[in-house]
Amino acid sequence: MSIWERMSKVDRRIIYLLLSLVVIIPIVFRIPSTIAVSESAQMAYDAVDRLPAGTPIIFSTDFDPASMPELRPMMTAVLRHAFKKKLKVIMMGHWPTGIPLSTIILEEVAQEFKAEYGVDYINIGYRPGAGLVMIQMGREIRSVFDIDIQGNPLDSLPMMRQVHNYSDIGLIACFEAGAMGDIWVIYAWGRFGVNIIMGTTAVVTPDAYPYLAARQIEGLIGGMAGAAAYEKLVEHPDKAMIRMSSQAWAHILIIVFIIIGNIGYFMMRRAERIKKRGTV
């Protein structure tokens, strides 16, 4: 086997092993990373930052544990920003399997800021229906969420007394692992013109840019890189920032492999061409 052939036929297990190493080493040795704040993440930060203290903000959990590494740090960072700005947090979601997770996240951050349940934040959980829920919330939140996750009627919670529909809400921050973000834009923005910022897994991010460019959403936080950027913006380094150097090195490794594969391919093709010419 020529060196070129070998270059284009590396065993997959070697790739797996190297990928594991470039991920593990930065975590174990805590190699610091550089964070690039994207324009779209900055816009999301600004949208939250503009809200005056006391404004209600909805957090929508539209993901499940499968995308936890990307969206958990992101939601944590935006929650920190909201509590720091003394906004009133309303946690809800459209993915039932994500609700227990966002409950954990919310309680963690609320404790950090010594926020009080019912006064500074509430958790109303999940109701099935996606776009249907969004439309009904546009008229009266209580028509779908009559009680919170613990069974308390919404009117018994002080911060909800003046909050009835989207016109009382400053911003919707939705965290997306699928198509629910499109539904938020198409139904809630489309019908009621609410302000939305979107945090998405990297898979979803590119598809959300048309909304940002048309100003249907105010900002877009994309993937773990976006989460790290937000952590940098709120000046609270956490999981995403720590993990970014693993991410960066893994990207480099994959790019190197793509280059190696291509060099091998082109050199082999050249060798073949030369051979053909020789036989003719």
Partner: protein, 212 residues
Amino acid sequence: MRRQIPLILTFLTGIAIFIAFFIPHKPFNEVQDILLDWAIIIAGFALLLGIHSLLRKHITHIKKKDGGWGYSLILTFFFVGVFTVGIFSAIQYKGYSLTPGSLLYFVYDYMVIPLSATMFALLAFFIASAAYRAFRARRLNATLLLIAAVVVMLGRVPIMENAFFNFLSRFSDWFMFIPQMAAKRGILIGVALGAFAMSLRIILGIERTYLQ
């Protein structure tokens, strides 16, 4: 009868929602709300239907002792186990089994989370290996795709802070916002128009494949 009534039902519900959009007042908006609730209840039953067919498949496996029936047994065992845990949690928390602190919550935290998260983490290895194997700059189109991918990967997650990477991350901002966005917008408008046309065909009873 078997076909006409469903077609009429689809037409009426579709039109009711349509009217409620343009006349968002009583009684149309109430009809809309009721229909939305109905759709939700039906969806609940559909979920149960899915679980039933899953279990039936695996129980048949066990009965026939097909190859790998042991795994079907494991699946059924864990289903029954977690179901029992759920019933206990439901009794303990007055019907709401998913209350934090319940045993079902424990199962969520230490089984559902790691299992689903790891299943998707496996894809990292496959995508790395696939990128190496399949990504060849054979033609102009493939080369463009390759360059775009590399620019985004380096620009979004720079490895160090210097002028080159700063440029790259600013460039990928522009790149995502303008040319990438334009193509995505074109694709998505196409998809939305398609969905619009399809829904109209369904309401008018031209498209009937969903009744098969």
